[in-house]
């Protein structure tokens, strides 16, 4: 089954032809820069000076801008993707760490760790249009593929809160393991995966029943459990493979999206944090915060094929979709 899946992916990658050049942007938390990577050359082509403590980073849906949350400057900066210069900013509220967008790319939802709110921003108008009071210390965020539900994980209450994006009310909360960090939906909306950094697990949640249907644990040979901290999650579009970044264990777990069994652990760089696929899903890039580099995983072969040095403490990564 697994082999067939991998072969199938390799075949579809072949049919899609050679990977074109995409552009990846990596936020470097300590050096206050964003590294621009060409995915054909696998090299940094430009380093952009941004505000203080850049972490959350994402392309806008129209691909015109890359947004980067600069927490210590209390704002989200907008990088023009044609000139690679900071051209504007968004009113994010205090200490933005992470944000997410709805499927239409109109609204941005920002987690403000300091004042326990999620700020909603109209990107086109560059204006705040509302906020939601959530659990203490909001962290991970995800919007359901139909745009109706916003997930927000709270570091202190250890819950994933389900927020109705129309009424902006919390409609359900699911208790997960300690320090939930990140949330990701399967593209068909059938599952929500939530990682717990201290618990070292991923909870697979049924988003309709608001119930945990499976808890994924991780164990790496020759390692104590403490460094195995689940952080970033990326699921393939078909939902068949999930990749989980395991922080200071320096590994990425490859999880079968159907059986939820861990298939493999890949040694990447030190303190692996967040990840992003190239749009053809041929490669997955990981940010490694202590070794100050980005690892390139060949998704078909499930092997690390390249390493690119970036700035200090790389945190997030986003890749163009064309």
């Amino acid at each position: 089954m697994w082999l067939r899946l991998v072969l199938g992916m390799a075949l579809s990658a072949l049919l899609a032809g050679e990977a074109g050049a995409f552009t990846a942007y990596v936020s470097n938390e300590k050096s206050n820069t964003v590294s621009v990577i060409d995915t054909e050359k696998w090299a940094v082509t430009k380093t952009i000076k941004v505000g203080q403590r850049p972490r959350g980073i994402a392309y806008t849906k129209d691909q015109k801008y890359v947004l980067v949350a600069v927490g210590d400057d209390d704002t989200i900066q907008m990088i023009d993707t044609t000139t690679n210069e900071v051209v504007d900013k968004l009113p994010s509220g205090p200490d933005p760490e992470f944000f997410t967008q709805g499927p239409d790319g109109k609204f941005l939802y920002v987690a403000n760790e300091d004042d326990n709110t999620v700020t909603i921003i109209d990107i086109a108008r560059r204006a705040q249009v509302g906020d939601v009071q959530v659990g203490v210390e909001p962290e991970g965020m995800a919007v359901s593929p139909d745009g109706k539900i916003l997930i927000n994980t709270s570091e202190t209450t250890n819950m994933a809160h389900f927020i109705d994006t129309a009424t902006r009310q919390v409609v359900a909360s699911v208790l997960v393991d300690a320090r939930p960090r990140f949330a990701a939906f399967k593209q068909d909306g059938s599952e929500l995966w939530v990682s717990s950094e201290i618990g070292g697990t991923v909870s697979v949640i049924d988003p309709v029943k608001h119930a945990i249907k499976k808890k994924i644990s991780f164990a790496i040979a020759g390692m104590r459990p403490e460094p195995i901290q689940a952080v970033g999650i990326n699921l393939t579009r078909d939902g068949k493979i999930g990749f989980v970044a395991l922080g200071p264990s320096n590994h990425v777990a490859v999880v079968d999206g159907t059986t939820h069994e861990v298939k493999k652990y890949l040694l990447v760089g030190e303190r692996v944090w967040h990840m992003a696929f190239t749009p053809d899903e041929k490669y997955l890039l990981t940010t490694n915060g202590v070794s100050n580099d980005v690892s390139v995983i060949d998704v078909g072969a499930l092997k690390v094929v390249n390493t690119i040095q970036v700035g200090e403490q790389p945190w997030g990564v986003t890749i163009s979709d064309r």
Binding site: I220, A221, G222, M223, R224, P227, P248, S249, N250, H251, Y265, L267, G269, E270, V290, S291, T307
Partner: protein
């Protein structure tokens, strides 16, 4: 430092010191760094090659490997030169022996750098303990100084002697504190180096 400066410093000691000296992790009360203390490195977090469990100290029996470990572990050897030395060493080894030699080389580096890192962490804790003792000493000197100054018929030479002792101790305290902050980076630097060297060895096995 003038008198006002001494008073200012003594005010800082009287109020801020106890909290500044408090450790973040209750398991390691003498650990002064903001970086979390991780006593031992994990082989599994560095290496996905063949197990080093059976290597033991056998890497020391091969003089070439022993010398290379010493060269690579020394932080004065630039990382690029170290990687080059690894590639050259493994390129010269017969394919059938390459895996075993690479594993021994990694085992030697892991033992050596893990040991080096532990010694540095012990040193940091030792300095931190001395700092706490010095802080207590300064605090009690400052209190004596205040008592002396409050006396109606104070002896100016005694006050000056004590004030200059406080000044000197404070200067030593501050210098050491700055050094600790710098030295706290070293365990991470060693870990980064070991990881980079392990990766360079591993790449020769692909």
């Amino acid at each position: 430092m003038n008198r006002l400066g001494v008073l200012f410093v003594s005010a800082i000691f009287a109020t801020a010191m106890p909290s500044a000296a408090r450790a973040a992790d209750p398991r390691y009360p003498d650990w002064p760094c903001v970086q979390a203390k991780v006593p031992e490195l994990s082989v599994g977090a560095m290496w996905d090659g063949p197990s080093i469990a059976d290597v033991g100290n056998s890497w020391q029996d091969d003089p070439k490997i022993k010398d290379l470990v010493a060269l690579l572990a020394a932080r004065r050897t630039p990382l690029d030169a170290a990687k080059k030395a690894i590639d050259e060493f493994l390129a010269a080894i017969a394919p059938s022996d390459k895996q075993s030699a690479a594993t021994k080389l990694f085992a030697g580096l892991f033992d050596t750098l893990n040991q080096q890192r532990s010694e540095i962490m012990d040193g940091i804790e030792r300095v931190s303990r001395n700092e706490k003792e010095l802080a207590d000493k300064i605090k009690s000197d400052v209190e004596s100084l205040h008592r002396l100054e409050d006396k109606p018929n104070q002896d100016p030479s005694k006050v000056n002697d004590l004030a200059s002792r406080v000044e000197w101790s404070t200067r030593i305290f501050e210098d050491r504190r700055k050094t600790i902050r710098y030295v706290c980076e070293v365990p991470t630097t060693i870990e980064q180096r070991l990881f980079a060297l392990a990766r360079a060895i591993r790449q020769n096995l692909n």
